[in-house]
């Protein structure tokens, strides 16, 4: 056992609080430490080379590096060992920066602590054994969950890289939230016009399999080898036969509110989501269908020229294998009825930004004419309220939703174009216009279109004699303000998509307390998750606008193509294993493993013991803690390794 110790100064970061030389001296007194030195910056290229040389010259077979957090450079140092010809897992990093020099002031005590941390690392590493990373094959197919602009872009880019992609979307059409927009800022492009060519491309691309009205049922496996069950929901219309003529929808006698128009507008039980839907097929919603509710009607079936209606349809579950998974599940909007002070959803002339967008759209409930929902009159005064369900601790949404300042400006401009005589007010706190040409766009709204921006929050929206009143403040003038409004648009904020946390559980990824999926590192790994092989794109990770979404989707595609470019990949060797000689066959481990990585194996004499599948094991160690006879060990975190750290602290 020949341990080498390298203690980093990290410039002043460590050396100003920890007496690095003392740590080296103390290290030399520890059992098995045959070499110890201090280094200015251990992670620098010359220092790495010096460590490699020291390993070879001093014949070291274990290495301890006391420096920054292992989360920063453990991989870097593992590569150093590898280059020096040493197994990369014969390394232990002691965190004497983030968890020592940066949080303490007293040099004497910080140095004592650093010495303790080195003692722990030396004790632990003396129990390390060489580990070999297992290699597995890779299924060269990708799954994209979510058919909004993020999923569409990711699918197209991956398909162009010659990898077959399956795009699963839970609505009957792709397009997501962007398909509901009238125009997009700051170019005021017709959203449908820029989106539909991409949607069509997805439908026609030879490498993309489109599965609409489908959801993810179950996910098993690991990177390169995911086994996914997909539920194809019963739409009661055979999508292969349906030609999208729309006669069924026209003649359907039922009444429903339109889901695509977010509850503002009529719909039918059988519907084609919107005119540019891809695929352009009809779907029946059993909740609203007269046949499903009362066993009468079936008019659509009679009238369908393609004989596509099938009331007997059942959900179908298919199982597919993929090497990589992308979640692009988008967002949901904050429910503004939670703002009792804004009417709690009672006033028909108060609506969310996206609902208003549907009114602006020519495919919307009023065919693009702006009318008050209450009496159908043209509004003269329209008030936009920013930050509804964003930047609001009281409603549990302290974050900024990134797009609302821009879409509010856009809607204000569009409103002025539709109704040049109208008076428009925007109540705001700050203006977030960070993208290219964004600031100029907002200025245009104010200067060219005469939209009145009032800096202040809205405290109350109420009615008085049938008139909607908006009461707020103008903080720049220092005065309260009250506006008589005909229509109020609340810029509702982004939240996680419905069902996000259930999907996260299936995929084995984490999410924050708002439901947004957690990226591996916010700066350096924004499209990966901590679960290898599962990637993120778009608003499911955090609120963002279309340019950022498309950029992220292309970024994700490059990661997926990279992951699937090899024929074999290495999985982590930090997995658990059962000592077959000692296992008593109680199988408590099997019952607790979150990854179903443990199975029963029969011995020749009929007895059964537990065995862990290394490629499924994610190294959490729950089985180890559950096993009473201590028969399971976890590479990298064995009982003896952790006990040695405890003893190094208390027994000094």
């Amino acid at each position: 056992m020949r341990i080498g110790l390298f203690v980093c100064h990290c410039g002043n970061n460590i050396a100003s609080t920890v007496d690095v030389k003392k740590v080296v001296q103390a290290g030399l007194k520890l059992p098995y430490v045959v070499f110890a030195t201090d280094v200015d910056y251990v992670c620098s290229a010359p220092s790495q080379k010096n460590i490699e040389e020291a390993i070879q010259e001093k014949n070291l077979n274990r290495v301890v590096i006391a420096a920054c957090s292992p989360h920063v450079h453990e991989e870097t140092f593992r590569r150093v060992l590898k280059r020096a010809g040493l197994n990369p897992y014969l390394l232990q990093v002691a965190n004497i920066r983030e968890q020592c020099s940066w949080i303490h002031d007293n040099v004497i005590f910080a140095t004592i602590k650093a010495i303790d941390l080195v003692k722990m690392a030396v004790a632990k590493v003396s129990h390390h054994e060489p580990l070999v990373a297992p290699k597995v094959g890779v299924e060269k197919r990708a799954l994209v969950i979510g058919g909004g602009i993020a999923g569409i872009q990711a699918a197209l880019d991956i398909a162009e890289g010659n990898i077959p992609v399956t795009l699963v979307e839970r609505e009957p059409t792709i397009g997501g939230a962007m398909a509901k927009l009238d125009k997009a800022f700051p170019t005021l492009d017709c959203a449908a016009c820029i989106l539909t060519p991409k949607m069509a491309e997805v439908n026609q691309h030879e490498n993309i399999e489109l599965m609409v009205y489908s959801e993810i049922e179950d996910v098993k496996g690991y990177v390169g080898n995911f086994e996914v069950k997909i539920r194809k929901k019963a739409s009661y219309v055979d999508y292969e036969k349906c030609v999208g003529c729309g006669i069924c929808e026209q003649k359907c006698p039922s009444k429903a509110s339109s889901k695509f128009n977010l509850g503002r507008g009529d719909g039918k039980a059988i519907y084609i989501s919107f005119p540019q839907a891809v695929p352009k097929v009809a779907t029946i919603s059993p909740k609203h269908c007269i046949y499903f509710q009362r066993q009468k009607c079936r008019v659509c079936e009679k009238l369908c020229p393609a004989d596509a209606v099938d009331f007997k349809m059942q959900d179908e579950i298919v199982t597919e294998r993929f090497g990589a998974i992308v979640t692009a599940t988008g967002y949901s909007l904050f429910d503004y009825s939670q703002y009792g002070e804004y009417g709690g959803g009672r006033y028909p002339d108060v609506m969310s930004g996206l609902q208003y967008e549907r009114f602006l759209s020519p495919t919307g409930p009023s065919k693009g004419e702006i009318k008050r929902p209450s009496d159908g009159k043209k509004p003269e005064t329209i008030v936009f309220v920013a930050c509804v369900g964003s930047r609001d601790e009281a409603k549990g949404r302290p974050y900024c939703s990134a797009v609302c300042c821009m879409y509010t400006a856009k809607q204000a401009i569009l409103t002025k174009e539709h109704l040049p005589e109208s008076q428009i007010y925007v109540f705001y706190i700050d203006i977030r216009a960070t993208g290219k040409l964004y600031e100029e766009f907002v200025r245009r709204a104010q200067e060219e279109y005469g939209v009145q921006y009032v800096r202040g929050r809205v405290s109350k929206i109420y009615t008085d004699n049938g008139k909607l009143k908006v009461r707020g403040a103008d903080t720049l003038l220092g005065e309260p303000v009250e506006v008589d409004a005909d229509l109020v648009v609340l810029a509702t904020g982004f939240g996680a998509s419905k069902g996000a946390s259930t999907l996260a559980k299936k995929l084995g990824i984490s999410h924050d307390s708002y439901g947004f999926f957690t990226e591996s590192h916010p700066k350096l790994k924004p499209v990966e998750t901590n679960t290898r092989g599962v990637f993120l794109a778009g608003a499911c990770q955090s609120p963002k606008d279309i340019p950022a979404t498309v950029a992220q989707a292309s970024g994700v595609a490059s990661k997926v193509l990279g992951a699937l470019s090899k024929d074999q990949i290495e999985t982590s060797p930090l997995v658990a294993a059962v000592d077959a000689r000692r296992c008593i066959g109680c199988f408590q481990c099997l019952g607790v493993c979150p990854y179903k990585a443990i199975e029963e194996v029969a011995l020749n004499n009929g007895a059964k013991i537990a065995e862990i599948i290394p490629t499924l094991c994610q190294g959490c160690g729950l089985c180890v803690a559950t096993c009473n006879p201590g028969v399971i060990s976890l590479n990298g975190f064995t009982d003896n390794q952790l006990i040695s750290e405890v003893e190094a602290i208390v027994k000094g």
Binding site: I584, G606, A607, P629, G630, T638, D639
Partner: protein, 345 residues
């Protein structure tokens, strides 16, 4: 320890014995062997008997000293000859307290219900030989008779009489299950305590735990330091426990993992008993065999009862009652009603 054989004269247990022999003989046709009680090296110490034939069955006994929890034989690892004999079928004589161990083992999935037959026998409490030892020289007891609430001993031709509540096992005084909770055949009908024990025990089985908790923390520390300094690490407590079925792989004696040294310092001994209590949390059915087996009279049941009390308070769970439940520490609830997150303001 020979001396004159002491005749236990108790009408009820005598009747039960005849019935028991019949039940055992009939069970033999369904199993490979039945485990019951026979006379040991003296009448105060019965020993387990493996009955394979009607002839064997004649040696069966049933009296006020048949304390052994035979359920400990059920996990196949603990049988003589050892590991993994899934094809042998066993019959077992169990009392009420023993039957809880059977149910708990079923819960843990370590035994299959089809592989054993239970002959339940209702019980009126057993006499604690350690409590007799404190009162009379055992080897000179010539006669013992239980009559109406007391035990009458003849020692050196003189009569000594003690109220039963002084000599019965403490667990018997607060017994909640005199009739077995699981059985294929039942001997003896409803059991009943032959005497009501001291009021505090009869009402609250955790009375001793609560008394102990009234001590200050330093007093408790000193108490355990004293007690555990006597421990020999003989592992009798572990070997007799029905739930220590890892006995041959016990972490008290492994190098991988290496939790304990073999030094018999009070600190090491304490750690052994603490982790055993932790491993038994929510599983121990309080049969008290560990305490009986201990050669240096460690108050082990106190430890395990505290653990069970805590588990009961947190999860509303009692071991060995319902075979369909799962031991509480290998499951979880997304919300735990009785666990409050610590506040750090």
């Amino acid at each position: 320890m020979a001396g004159k054989p002491i005749e236990m004269r108790n009408k009820k247990t005598k009747e039960q014995l005849e019935n028991l022999k019949t039940q055992v003989e009939e069970t033999l046709s369904q199993v490979d062997f039945v485990i019951g009680y026979a006379k040991g090296y003296d009448v105060l110490h019965p020993t387990p008997l493996f009955v394979r034939s009607t002839k064997d069955a004649q040696a069966l006994i049933w009296d006020d000293f048949c304390i052994n929890n035979l359920a400990t034989y059920l996990p196949s690892q603990k049988r003589p000859g050892g590991l993994f004999h899934p094809h042998e079928k066993i019959g077992l004589v169990v009392k009420g307290c023993d039957s809880r161990a059977v149910i708990q083992l079923l819960q843990e999935g370590i035994i299959d219900r089809e592989n054993f037959k239970i002959i339940g026998i209702s019980c009126q409490g057993k006499v604690d030989v350690k409590k007799l030892k404190n009162r009379v020289p055992i080897e000179r007891v010539e006669n013992a008779e239980i009559k109406e609430g007391s035990i009458e001993l003849t020692v050196d031709s003189r009569g000594q009489k003690y109220p039963l509540e002084e000599v019965l096992y403490s667990k018997c005084l607060s017994c909640e299950y005199p009739t077995p909770l699981i059985y294929d055949r039942l001997v003896g009908g409803e059991g009943s305590l032959r005497s009501k024990g001291p009021k505090e025990f009869a009402q609250d089985p955790y009375h001793d735990v609560e008394e102990f908790e009234k001590k200050g923390v330093n007093e408790r520390l000193d108490f355990w330091e004293q007690e555990f300094s006597r421990c020999l690490r003989c592992y009798a407590c572990r070997d007799i426990c029905p739930f220590c079925y890892c006995q041959f792989e016990c972490i008290a004696q492994t190098r991988i993992p290496h939790w304990l040294s073999q030094k018999t310092a009070s600190k090491e001994n304490k750690f052994f008993h603490m982790f055993r209590a932790m491993h038994l949390a929510g599983r121990c059915t309080e049969c008290g065999e560990c305490e009986r087996a201990c050669p240096v009279d460690l108050p082990l049941l106190l430890l395990h009862k505290k653990m069970n009390k805590k588990v009961s308070e947190l999860f509303g769970y009692k071991s060995g009652i319902n075979p369909k439940l799962r031991p509480p520490l290998i499951i979880f609830q997304p919300e735990e009603k009785n666990i409050e997150e610590e506040k750090w303001e």
